[in-house]
């Protein structure tokens, strides 16, 4: 991993002017004469840097501004204020040399042509990205291997299953061996096996080509498997930028203790926050630093059949992050 900065955002802002329209006929007529607008700040002063070769997870709930940020990074959207640089280029100038080095994979959008074989779509990209035939063939072979595309290349895209199509979309997006990958929900809708395969592929691609990856996902497994670093966004603002483990430590200072007791109906509120009681099974939330002490107390004081100490899931942590920000 080199020290060069591949991606830099500096107080980046994007504000949309959205027309407001009340329902109803009178309002519709009024809006012909007087258009009302509302300003939506989709991205508010976000700053961070990504070094060349890093894989960064971009987290946030729906509507947080992740996709807007990715679109500004890939040149689709014009920033309202602030600066953004990718490989030294200003993305929205859409320099040809810039576009040849990046790719944006949006999980729910097709770039492949529906009715013709996948290889024809690949050939189209070859021409557009000015790839030499030899180099192109080698890349296709490599991607076919890594993604197990096999005999998919000769089939029209409409005949592929969702998982097969996604694999081909990812391959098509990487034919020009971009240095920067923007991936917006790349594993959405895929089954568990396919998700794992895509994750392995991305890790391999990153290692092989030192590609910088910015990845948004709702699947924590994607983030855990691939990203050392996460950037959390909510309501257009940066909430956290750092190590995933640190995120967990900072925003979730609790652990869960699940107890199986010999008796039912015992009150454990003295030991910690009782999350749930199900007959003789009680779940407690305790501060992390006191886990050992409280566990000891529970084992000493109570008729415990079984006891487990659990880390909160990443999902719960993220929920905590968002809940705290809202509060």
């Amino acid at each position: 991993m080199s020290d060069t900065v591949a991606i830099r955002l500096d107080n980046l802002c994007k504000t949309y002017r959205v027309p407001i329209r009340e329902p109803g006929l009178v309002a519709a007529l009024k809006s012909i004469v007087h258009r009302q607008h509302r300003e939506v700040e989709a991205v508010k002063q976000i700053s961070f840097e990504v070094a060349s070769g890093e894989i960064v997870g971009f987290l946030g709930p729906n509507g947080a501004g992740k996709t807007t940020a990715l679109k500004m990074l890939s040149g689709l959207l014009n920033p309202t204020a602030g600066e953004v640089r990718v490989l030294g280029y200003e993305p929205f100038r859409r320099d040809r040399d810039f576009l040849r080095q990046i790719t944006l994979v949006m999980g729910n959008r097709n770039q492949l042509v529906w009715d013709i074989p996948v290889s024809d779509s690949f050939e189209r990209n070859r021409a557009i990205y000015r790839l030499g035939q030899g180099e192109f063939n080698r890349t296709v072979d490599g991607l076919t291997d890594l993604l197990d595309l096999g005999d998919l290349l000769d089939k029209p895209v409409r005949n592929l299953s969702l998982g097969e199509r996604m694999k081909c979309e990812i391959a098509a997006a990487l034919l020009h061996r971009p240095k920067i990958l923007f991936l917006d929900e790349p594993t959405i809708g895929l089954d568990v096996t396919m998700q794992r395969r895509v994750r392995r592929f991305l890790a391999e691609y990153n290692k092989r080509y030192q590609a910088t990856v910015l990845l948004t996902s709702h699947y924590m497994k994607d983030v855990e498997a691939l990203c050392d670093r996460v950037v959390v966004i909510h309501h257009g603002q940066l909430l956290f930028d750092g190590n995933l483990a640190r995120l967990v430590a900072r925003f979730s200072p609790h652990k869960t203790i699940a107890l199986d007791l010999e008796q039912e109906g015992m009150d454990l509120s003295a030991y910690g926050e009782v999350v749930s009681t199900d007959g003789s099974r009680v779940t407690l939330l305790v501060p992390k630093e006191e886990t050992a002490k409280i566990t000891g107390q529970l084992l000493a004081d109570l008729p415990v059949i079984d006891l487990t100490v659990e880390e909160p899931s990443i999902e719960e942590v993220i929920e905590q992050v968002f809940a705290q920000e809202v509060a």
Partner: protein
């Protein structure tokens, strides 16, 4: 240049392959392009019939020749992307195009040419059929026939660039169907599609000549029919060059501004 050769030949082949899958769409446009002149021809022939076989300076053979050549020129110069632009902007279908290192206009030009190439197989028989049915009279000198080729090419370029630039209004106006309709109606009169321009009132002829419409369609038609003097032809080429320049300038000015307004909706 070799970069564009590769792009154009590869994308042309793929456009043809794609369009052959969407035969219904091909046919819809083709029906309009073939039927429209036939309908107007039949109407004008009927009018001529009631006026002793003549309408203005066109006899029946002349009218038939006009509309058959019009059909060819209209087919060669027509483009539909103006109607697609609104859809592309509204649904975010522009996004994949903007992410690639190729100006979207190239794809549209290639698609257009691929369409003409495929539909030629229907247009040519239609032309021969109409020649057999309506007995047009052609009498153009050889120089006019030779001049027709560059005039047709220029007409295509003028029409394509002017219409593509106008289509970019879709980045500012959400619903361009009203504008497109207005343009389509204006075209029917001012391009000489409904009737030869010489049969139209003076003000229509003036408007058609001052605006690009005459140079997009009517001019090459009149040229191939031998209805223009050499001086008029030279003037015509100059007007085509002027409008091509204006179209390209309009495109250069609007494209960057249009792309900046793009809000990439629809994910």
């Amino acid at each position: 240049m070799s970069r564009f050769t590769d792009i154009y030949t590869t994308l042309f082949k793929i456009s043809v392959a794609i369009m052959l899958q969407y035969r219904a769409v091909l046919i819809i446009w083709l029906i309009g392009l073939v039927l429209q002149p036939i309908i107007y021809l039949v109407v004008w022939l009927t009018v001529a019939e009631t006026q002793g076989g003549q309408v203005g300076d066109f006899d029946k053979g002349g009218l038939a020749a006009y509309f058959i050549v019009l059909m060819i020129v209209n087919h060669a110069t027509f483009d539909w992307h103006m109607y697609e632009m609104g859809y592309r902007v509204r649904t975010g279908a522009f996004s994949p195009l903007l992410l690639q290192p190729l100006h979207p206009i190239h794809r549209d030009i290639i698609e257009n040419v691929a369409y003409k190439f495929i539909t030629l197989s229907v247009m040519l028989p239609a032309v021969f059929l109409l020649i057999w049915l309506f007995e047009p009279t052609f009498g153009a000198p050889m120089w006019a026939v030779a001049a027709f080729v560059p005039a047709l090419l220029l007409a295509f370029l003028v029409r394509f660039f002017v219409e593509w630039s106008l289509a970019l209004l879709a980045f500012w106006i959400t619903d361009t169907s009203g504008l497109n309709q207005m343009y389509a109606v204006a075209s029917i009169f001012l391009m000489g599609q409904m009737a030869p321009l010489s049969l139209m009132p003076q003000w229509v002829q003036f408007a058609a000549g001052v605006l690009p419409f005459r140079w997009m369609v009517a001019f090459p038609v009149e040229l191939l029919l031998g209805r223009l003097s050499p001086e008029q032809v030279v003037d015509g080429f100059l007007m085509q060059a002027l409008w091509l320049g204006l179209g390209l300038a309009g495109l250069a000015l609007t494209w960057n501004r249009a792309a900046r307004r793009y809000s990439a909706v629809g994910a």
